[in-house]
Symmetry: C2
Subunit: 245 residues, 2 copies
């Protein structure tokens, strides 16, 4: 209990610092605001600021590193029965949920980020890390491990990797498009529902790419026939297929 | 003539500075290299460095700002008879050409960029500017001017904008994928041909999105019938269509 209480206090301090930073950046500009001013406005010492954030930029962003870890954990633990695009869609919804959880902060952050190019670059770089995680997951699901081999440059594997990267880019682009529209609209409305709808529209067009995977080694000897009773639960069938391969 | 000579000298100095910076970054590390060392290795004064570059990071990158202006000019001047995806493909080929023009520098830059996160962020941000230019062009071609209206959030126009953004992301992702493979392979082989082939594969899957544009206002009254002689040049037909709208 003591540990949990400690974490809660840390989170509150972090949130106060973020709120103070956003208000100051909006009121007097990003470059014009010092860490000392932020700490003072949040009622904490300067060194407390640096216990939470490395640099001034970090203070206003959601914890992208932690989020990325959650996303990767979610994808890693996705059942092989879940279609890959469903798992990726869920991951994108997890990201937008963090914005939806605090519309006021999200809208203020958007206003600041729009005005300061360095902050925009920071946000774009964070976005590209999600994109890489999505592509890595799609590669993994398709039996394409890392690291990427040089020999794949012109081969079928290289083409499949490229398609996965494009799908990952499409997911992130859709996420950003829907999020931006929501932020511009003042953070009202159900951004999760909008994203879910937009993603299913975009991904319906790209899903065929995932099924088009005839490989040089494939032939009729690779066919697997599973005979099972109608009532058998899906997880049991999955186990049998896994065992038979 | 005098003016041209001056420009050529400026370019040579710029190139020497870039070469010196790359060699030093690779030999002793990015953080460990000072602007003074780069200037000395290139045989120029410190202030000459700052006449060409704002910061150390800028020294090793191709001139993305100039390239972006060329790309935008190319797209702006594209004939309305050229299909939009052809114009965008040409623009992506223009970008890859700048890397192919100097494989040695491109490969060295890739090695440095891989090792230094801040340089990678710089490169990703540049990439995202190309993406925005492509999407803006596709919007423009589809009669969707800027700025984006709030009312489009859930409408058909918003959906078309999203598709254009996804196509732009697909083009940039494909460009980066092919370029990366070429750089990892030491800058050998025809990267332009690889990109051209990869783009036509990816865009074939996305092109239908551009034709699917029934709009709320569309009905049979909007049909335009153009009758013309068989031998009429295409530009003339285009003029007639333009005049009739």
């Amino acid at each position: 209990m003591e540990g949990r209480g400690h974490v809660a206090v840390r989170r509150d301090v972090r949130r106060s610092l973020t709120a103070a930073a956003l208000d100051l950046f909006l009121a007097q500009g990003f470059d014009e605001t010092t860490v000392d001013q932020i700490a003072e406005a949040a009622g904490v010492a300067r060194r407390t600021f640096f216990r939470h954030f490395r640099v001034k930029e970090d203070a206003i962003f959601p914890d992208h590193d932690a989020m990325l870890r959650e996303i990767v954990a979610h994808l890693d633990s996705a059942s092989p029965l879940v279609p890959p695009l469903t798992a990726v869609t869920e991951a994108a919804l997890m990201v937008v949920d963090t914005y939806a959880a605090d519309p006021e902060t999200s809208v203020k952050r958007y206003e600041v980020t729009r005005r300061v190019p360095s902050l925009r670059e920071h946000e774009i770089a964070a976005t590209s890390r999600y994109q890489r995680a999505f592509a890595a997951f799609l590669n993994e699901r398709d039996g394409l491990g890392t690291p990427e081999g040089l020999d794949e440059r012109d081969g079928a594997a290289g083409q499949r990797r490229l398609r996965h990267e494009v799908i990952a880019a499409a997911v992130v682009t859709t996420h950003n498009h829907v999020l931006r529209a929501w932020l511009r609209g003042g953070g009202t409305g159900d951004v999760r529902a909008h994203l879910s709808e937009a993603l299913s529209g975009i991904l319906a067009g790209l899903e065929p790419w995932l099924d088009d995977r005839a490989r040089p080694g494939d032939d009729e000897d690779d066919v697997l026939v599973v005979v099972t009773r109608r009532g058998t639960p899906l997880w049991r069938i999955a186990q049998e297929i896994e065992a038979a391969r």
